[in-house]
């Protein structure tokens, strides 16, 4: 297991060059064709790289597992946080809580599909219609030097100044973008900065809902409240292998590029992975709709016969005690 946890800079550097390089190329073509319909596919690609792929970069670099070199994780984390409009400090702490209390009602701040699900909110967020206004409101609150009541429960005092400073910088950046629109009489600046969080964010929700939607709440075994879904190479690039989500929750130290190997190593202990997005949504949609009326319903996953019981993370070594230690 420890071998699978080892990091290198190579895979994430390659993928980051492809990600940011792709945005540069597609964005340049979009700008070049601005004003014609030819710009649409280029901005669609740019938008998905900005508003959807940034989610998984934010996630992996927040864990600090994508790159071996710490500062590279931090730089990509800051870039991706800005693009997803997620304050890098508060969201780091909320995600920490999500890993401690996955789908524990009242504790996990990242439950997307509650029971009953707020369907309008989920559907609207395919285009950031709730997330973006909420993010902008929080940005202003933070820029004023305040946190919400919920944020105060998981962001330590010593971390709060960072929240306020980041928000003030971001407000300045978005005001500059708005000013550029006014001065140029064009929407192009906001199509490049901020706008993709609306028109390019749908894939991050489509991927993200597969993680836990409709699954059992208030259970401790991640194999029962999380899905692993097989995806093609393009989706796995955009999602940085977070489709191996059971594996990620069980072993968050394993970098995204080793998750397929981890899946092969432990799949005999897991419920069967879903063969694709279609298969996952064939379960998610009916489950979430049923939960609108019956909030006791949830997807029950069966573990294979002989699967290892839930136990603390361990690589199998016995704990040395005085009796077994060298005298």
């Amino acid at each position: 297991m420890k071998e699978l946890m080892r990091r290198s800079d190579g895979p994430a550097t390659r993928d980051t060059v492809l990600w940011l390089g792709g945005m540069l190329v597609f964005g340049a073509f979009g700008v070049a064709f601005w004003g014609s319909w030819f710009a649409v596919p280029f901005f669609l690609a740019y938008g998905v790289l900005y508003g959807s792929a940034s989610d998984s970069r934010w996630h992996e670099c927040g864990h600090g597992t994508a790159f071996k070199t710490r500062w590279k994780n931090d730089v990509v984390y800051q870039i991706a946080s800005f693009m997803m409009m997620r304050d890098p400090t508060t969201w780091r702490w909320s995600h920490t809580r999500h890993h401690t209390d996955t789908l524990i009602v009242g504790r996990d701040p990242e439950i997307v599909a509650m029971r009953p699900a707020r369907l309008a909110r989920i559907l609207g967020n395919l285009f950031g219609l709730v997330d973006v206004p909420v993010a902008l409101r929080l940005m202003v609150i933070h820029a004023c030097g305040r946190l919400t009541a919920e944020e105060q429960t998981y962001v330590p005092e010593s971390e709060r100044r960072k929240v306020f400073t980041t928000a003030r910088i971001w407000v300045g950046m978005y005001l500059a973008t708005a000013a550029a629109c006014v001065l140029t009489g064009s929407l192009l600046p906001v199509v490049l900065i901020g706008g993709p969080r609306i028109y390019g964010t749908f894939m991050h929700l489509i991927y993200g809902l597969t993680q836990h939607a409709g699954m059992g709440e208030n259970v401790l075994d991640h194999r029962l409240n999380t899905r692993t879904v097989h995806m093609n190479r393009l989706n796995r690039f955009l999602y940085w292998n977070m489709n191996y989500h059971v594996e990620h929750h069980m072993f968050p130290m394993v970098p995204y590029y080793r998750l397929p190997e981890l899946h092969e190593e432990i799949k005999h202990d897991l419920a069967p992975a879903y063969p694709g997005l279609w298969a996952a949504y064939k379960e998610i949609v009916p489950a979430v709709l049923r939960q609108l009326k019956d909030q006791t319903y949830y997807v029950r996953r069966g573990l294979p016969e002989g699967a290892a019981p839930l136990h603390p993370v361990s690589d199998g070594r016995a704990v040395l005690t005085e009796r077994s230690a060298v005298a």
Binding site: T96, P312, R317
Partner: protein
């Protein structure tokens, strides 16, 4: 006064790795750095009491297996969120291929 406890043999800890040790109901973590020096810290992460022995040693850093909090295991210094409180460290000595920690 420091009480020296025999924890394990030097060959029990791989290079750039960590080993758990219990004494008197208390968990400790024993490290072997890439330059073949041994260190000892408290056994649990200061963030949410996860056992550090299940974490990953990278050079002079131990990373907690649950939330990826990182510490310099030689000094105990917490290296950033979510690890904000330093780890307690313990003195280590090696005699006759046995690692002793001072508690």
């Amino acid at each position: 006064m420091t009480q020296w406890i025999a924890a394990c043999g030097v060959d029990d800890v791989d290079e750039e790795d960590v080993l758990p040790f219990q004494h008197d109901g208390v968990d400790y973590a024993i490290y072997r750095s890439p330059d073949d020096t041994f260190y000892a810290t408290a056994g649990h992460c200061t963030h949410e009491r996860e056992l550090l022995c299940d974490g990953l040693v990278m050079d002079r850093v131990i990373e907690c297996p649950k939330h990826n909090g990182r510490f310099d295991y030689a000094t105990g210094k917490a290296l950033g969120a979510p690890a904000l409180v330093d780890l307690r460290t313990y003195p280590v000595k090696v005699e006759n291929d046995t690692i002793y920690i001072g508690v």
